[in-house]
Subunit: 201 residues, 4 copies
DNA sequence: GATGAATGAGCATTCATTCAT
DNA sequence: AATGAATGAATGCTCATTCAT
């Protein structure tokens, strides 16, 4: 059971996170500073450090929250086949990109490219995380006889991830100006399909 | 005619650029600071600002030097057909990625993602530049009747660029650990070819 | 009679003290913080302030514990003469230095040098305490006709204390590297003896 | 030749040092902060770091200035014998203590006790410095046949230094209240003399 | 053109202490 | 007595940039 105090503490923590998230979405990572977060959250500067050891930690947690959701979604699809799973994965990835907006995407890329930000950070970058997740999906498909034993899981993983990250990166680079729905079509008759077909059983 | 003084000035400028480039390649953008550049170049701090208005400018110029080389190469291929041009483009892009190394790539991505670094910067980002260049190649191919009039130049451009940037981004994210030559093979029987075929005359 | 509650409270207090002492010995004063103490003692941060008004207080109490022991020893020597008492005093002082280790010594010196640390501190520093104690011993020796009436108690006190603190300070400064037993010999045929002899009856 | 600019720069440096010295003497080390120094010196905060890499550095330099003076004095006494040299050394040491005042002394002790203050500091502490200097004086006396070959230089050094530091430390502890001239007398018929006599030739 | 002294805004982090529960 | 959430003052240091010489 949680006491009133614990509840309040949790509320403070969430308030900090949601405030930081809002600021991150609005102004981007570069403009994010602890003082702004706490001021906007209506708490003292020190309170931030009650809940987060480093400034980077809250950003990491915000971003992780986003891309972990995809995993849960995929995990609930135990009965579906590999094509469906990949379709959902692509869809979820794209939705995340659109939903969370350009500044969050930038932070995903930034922190994946230049991972050594927080001193004692041992967390995976989004990229590492995505690679692992996709590799799991494909490996399981091999185990479940949905894909041939000689499927080049590693290579396929990188192809797909590269496809998605290419899209995401370019979307950020265009400052969100092109319509990512165009890309949905592209994904529909995904060139990858041709490649994947070879390994489908 | 250039006076001795102008010559020396040019030398100083080049010395600054080559020094900064070395530091950029070695330590990455985050670790680059004006003091280090000038100290290593053997000039005073103030001298830097004789030649570059902002720290970003020298970085931009260094990087631009790199990706402009591709354009020259393509321009010299006037007689070749569109397929050859694209092949050369892909090849050049990849070579640049490998040659200039991970820290330069990171800076290409970083500055393309977050373009508003220098206050009065009006330069194109590498990404904008690449998009323009590729669009030109394709547009010219349409004009020259190598591609059908209804070729979706814009879309094709983004598909290709996204492909290349996906590769480059993921290469940086993996900290240069995977073998980009694997990707050459992928590019060889490039899925795009299938798409492009539809519009070839 | 003490209730169970009072007993527990006392236990908590002692736990805090012994934990702080351990940390002080290991890491020194600079690294000592309330959070570490309470965490290591298994109580909440606030509990510390139930028993100690200031962080300095617990340190003072720990250190005082050490040097009060010497007094008790001396007091139990009522029948012994002044030479024996001083010999024991020297011996006890040195043993304390060795036993409690370099970090405790540093804190003795630090707090004696810079006494105004705790806001409302009225306690004596170790130095003041040692001076008083030694002065008492000598004054009593005068009263008991062990020393002449014209003995310069004040001066002798300072000479002896200075001798001991010189040794202790240098021991800390050498980072405990020289062998304090060398000093025992020095104290044996203590130059002071020559001085003291003049006033012995 | 020094230009006007270099002169001004030197002046700024000296201004910073003298200001810091004044603050150090008045308020002690604990109260010393960069902001106060620069404000009082009438320069910008950043200017401090043009001349000193760390806050500690300026303090170290101030203090070093003080105790290096003694060395120069001793070095100019090449023709004098060992007794005179030691007498001058004692005298100089004491004068320094009195002249530079209690807060400087505290800093000498503080930094000698707890040397790891500045990150990249490789300088000797005052204590180490004093030990070396005295050891040299004695070693040279042995070489010059002023002291017997079997003189325990190391031990004598520590005895003398301990004597001096004992005095200095106690003076700080008494908050400068006792009269150090009393100590001059003590040094005059210095107990050490008795010890030293054994080794004089 | 070259210098290098001076600037000063900008920012994360620590930690003793309080106090409502 | 015990808790632990909240506080907020305090501070060293970086570095791009300017400008008088």
């Amino acid at each position: 059971m949680t006491t009133k105090r614990q509840e309040n503490a949790l509320k403070t923590r969430e308030k900090l996170k949601s405030t930081a998230e809002k600021l991150l979405k609005t102004n981007g990572f570069n403009a994010l500073c602890v003082e702004d977060i706490t001021k906007a959250a209506g708490v003292a500067k020190g309170t931030f450090y009650v809940y987060f050891k480093h400034k980077e930690d809250i950003v990491a947690e915000i971003c992780r929250g986003y891309f972990k959701q995809i995993e849960e979604q995929i995990e609930q699809m135990k009965t579906h086949d590999i094509s469906e799973k990949l379709a959902v994965y692509f869809d979820s990835f794209m939705r995340a990109v659109m939903l969370y907006g350009i500044n969050i995407c930038r932070e995903w890329i930034r922190s994946s490219i230049d991972p050594k930000t927080a001193p004692d950070n041992t967390d995976m970058t989004k990229w590492q995380y995505d690679v692992e997740m996709l590799k799991n999906i494909l490996t399981n498909a091999v185990k479940n006889n949905e894909l041939k034993k000689d499927t080049p899981v590693e290579l396929l993983t990188h192809m797909i991830i590269s496809e998605l990250y290419g899209m995401m990166t370019c979307w950020c680079m265009s400052d969100g100006e092109f319509e990512p729905t165009e890309w949905t079509k592209k994904f529909a008759d995904m060139p990858l399909k041709a490649v994947l077909d070879k390994y489908l059983i």
